[in-house]
């Protein structure tokens, strides 16, 4: 278990923990109700987090067959 992998917990905290605070309609952000903006934001951030993990994970450098 690499410490890097702990990063994977971040999307869980953002989506499951965050929803308790983000369940509101106002303020509207980018035209979206806040709750929708919050979820869309975390969908994008999940992708970013996984990209970081992928880049830094030495497993992906060796060809695995």
């Amino acid at each position: 278990m690499r410490p890097l992998y702990l990063l994977a917990l971040v999307p869980f905290i953002g989506i499951l923990g965050g929803i308790f605070f983000a369940n509101r309609i106002e303020p509207f952000v980018l035209g979206m109700p806040f709750i929708l903006f919050w979820i869309v934001l975390w969908v994008v951030l999940t992708s970013v987090v996984m990209a970081i993990i992928y880049r830094l994970d030495p497993q992906n450098r060796e060809e695995e067959r």
């Binding site: 994977a8 989506i15 035209g31 969908v43 994008v44 992708s47 497993q59 695995e64």
Partner: protein, 490 residues
């Protein structure tokens, strides 16, 4: 023949052509047919995984939920992200074991890990019940709905279902998973362009923009866009998202796509791209929201028609035809995977468990022969089923989620769960889920002693927790007995 119908037909023929051509000189033994010779790269695996995830249910149901429920629909956008995070570690582990043991199905995986053909049969039954009468029927039903509406009634729903089922049967028998992968190419292009176009066009045309649209909805029905205090509330949201994320890769037909990959990196790379791809759902939601004030009054099952109704009242027939074609493809791709997986499981994991002497060749021939049989059963259910279909889908998802505890523990370096524990856990979980779903009971009904704050937890969580406890308990209790009766394995 009207223009819309002609366009839908062209796409159907294109899908059949691509599906059949996918075979191209490959000798279709079970290895090629079910898992594509384990040679698919990032793009094909992406298309297969995305192809199974974005189904007719996403297309019609996603917009329908936004239209009918509002805020709670956002859970559909949330669980995928977390499932993709898990996939970074889960899928390479499943893939590696599958390649080593040359597995073709999910039931193979359980039978091999727990060294029990009987467990393989149990998993097969759970899998086929989850796939055929619910998921496959839902795809066919959606297909019938889309084609009959988009063809302006020129083709009845039942005729469309029959043609669609026949088309899938044809290319699945000939090309197996390669057919699914190739039709997924055209499907994803179509769905992506149609969803994005509609999601941008409607808010702009009907309201002058997305922000304006959401403000109007907020004025019309304050609070609709967030989660309510009871029912589909925050507790429901968190438990459902978590449960669905765990059950995500337990669908039996997903295993075929996992085994088809060429290398483990394919999954890690897809864990980066797939979350972003989910944003298609945002556009699907926007269509549903736009329909609220434009085609008001849809109730119950009718909400699934929001997208189609709105499109028909706004566009020329050729554009309606393109939308209908996209809808048709969202049913064909997952439908073909479901069909192939069911046939493979019934032949390899059920028939062979009872006739162990059957040759590879015979199992392979039987799997293909079962494709039209399974299709016919699904066709029969589709034509004859009524409203119970929603219950069936819920059941299907809850069923496959019950496979999670014993699957995860089988991947641990020292798995203390044995076949008795795995089987008992699955049976208890499935029983609770069936009882709760058929009786329409929530967590508060099942466990009346819980504080009211937890009453809206998804009832699948209760079944999953009971399942995990039974799995562990029975494994520990049968341990001395199992240790004596069989040689220890490493």
């Amino acid at each position: 023949m009207n223009v819309a119908l002609a366009i839908i037909l062209v796409f159907l023929l294109l899908a059949i052509y691509l599906g059949i051509r996918a075979r191209r000189g490959k000798d279709m033994d079970l290895e090629q047919w079910a898992v594509g010779g384990r040679g698919f790269g990032t793009i094909f695996v992406f298309l297969l995984l995305a192809g199974e995830i974005y189904t007719t249910f996403t297309f019609l149901g996603g917009s329908g939920w936004a239209y009918g429920e509002g805020g709670p629909a956002f859970y559909i956008l949330s669980y995928g992200s977390l499932a993709y995070v898990i996939s970074y570690w889960l899928l390479p582990a499943i893939w590696r074991y599958g390649r080593e043991k040359r597995l073709h199905s999910q039931a193979d995986f359980f039978a091999s890990k727990y060294e029990s053909r009987s467990l393989g049969v149990l998993v097969s039954i759970v899998a086929v019940v989850a796939m055929v009468p619910s998921y496959l029927v839902l795809q066919l039903k959606g297909l019938g709905l889309i084609v009959s509406v988009a063809s302006y009634g020129a083709i009845s729903s039942n005729v469309a279902i029959t043609i669609g089922a026949a088309a899938v049967t044809l290319y699945v028998m000939i090309s197996g998973i390669r057919g699914s992968a190739w039709t997924a190419v055209i499907k994803d292009i179509m769905v992506l362009s149609v969803a994005v176009f509609l999601g941008i066009y409607f808010p702009l045309k009907l309201y002058g923009g997305m922000g304006e649209m959401f403000h109007r909805i907020q004025q019309h029905d304050p609070g609709f866009l967030a989660l309510p205090h009871t029912g589909y509330n925050v507790v429901w949201f968190v438990s459902t998202v978590l449960l669905t994320a765990l059950g995500f890769y337990m669908w039996p037909h997903t295993f075929g796509s996992i085994f088809s990959a060429r290398e483990a990196r394919v999954f890690r790379r897809n864990a980066v791209y797939l979350p972003l791809y989910q944003l298609i759902l945002l556009f699907v939601f926007l269509v549903g929201f736009a329909a609220i004030l434009a085609v008001p009054g849809l109730k119950g099952d009718q909400v699934d028609l929001a997208l189609l109704r709105l499109s028909k009242s706004s566009f020329d027939p050729w554009l309606v035809g393109l939308i209908g074609a996209a809808g048709l493809l969202t049913a064909l791709v997952p439908g073909s995977m479901l069909l192939m997986t069911s046939a493979t499981i019934l032949s390899k994991n059920v028939y062979r468990a009872f006739v162990p002497s059957a040759s590879e060749e015979r199992v392979n021939r039987l799997a293909k022969a079962l494709v039209p049989v399974v299709a016919l059963v699904a066709w029969y259910f589709t034509i004859n089923s009524g409203k119970t279909i929603v219950i069936l889908l819920l059941l299907g998802y809850s069923f496959v989620t019950q496979l999670f505890p014993s699957l995860i523990s089988s991947l641990l370096p020292n798995n203390f769960v044995n076949k008795w524990g795995a089987a008992a856990g699955i049976i208890v979980g499935v029983a609770i889920v069936t009882y709760a779903t058929v009786g329409g009971l929530g967590t508060g009904d099942l466990l009346p002693f819980l504080p009211p704050a937890l009453a809206d937890i998804n009832n699948g969580v209760v079944a999953l927790v009971a399942n995990a406890i039974v799995t562990v308990g029975v494994s520990l209790a049968t341990r001395p007995f199992v240790a004596r009766s069989s040689a220890p394995t490493t």
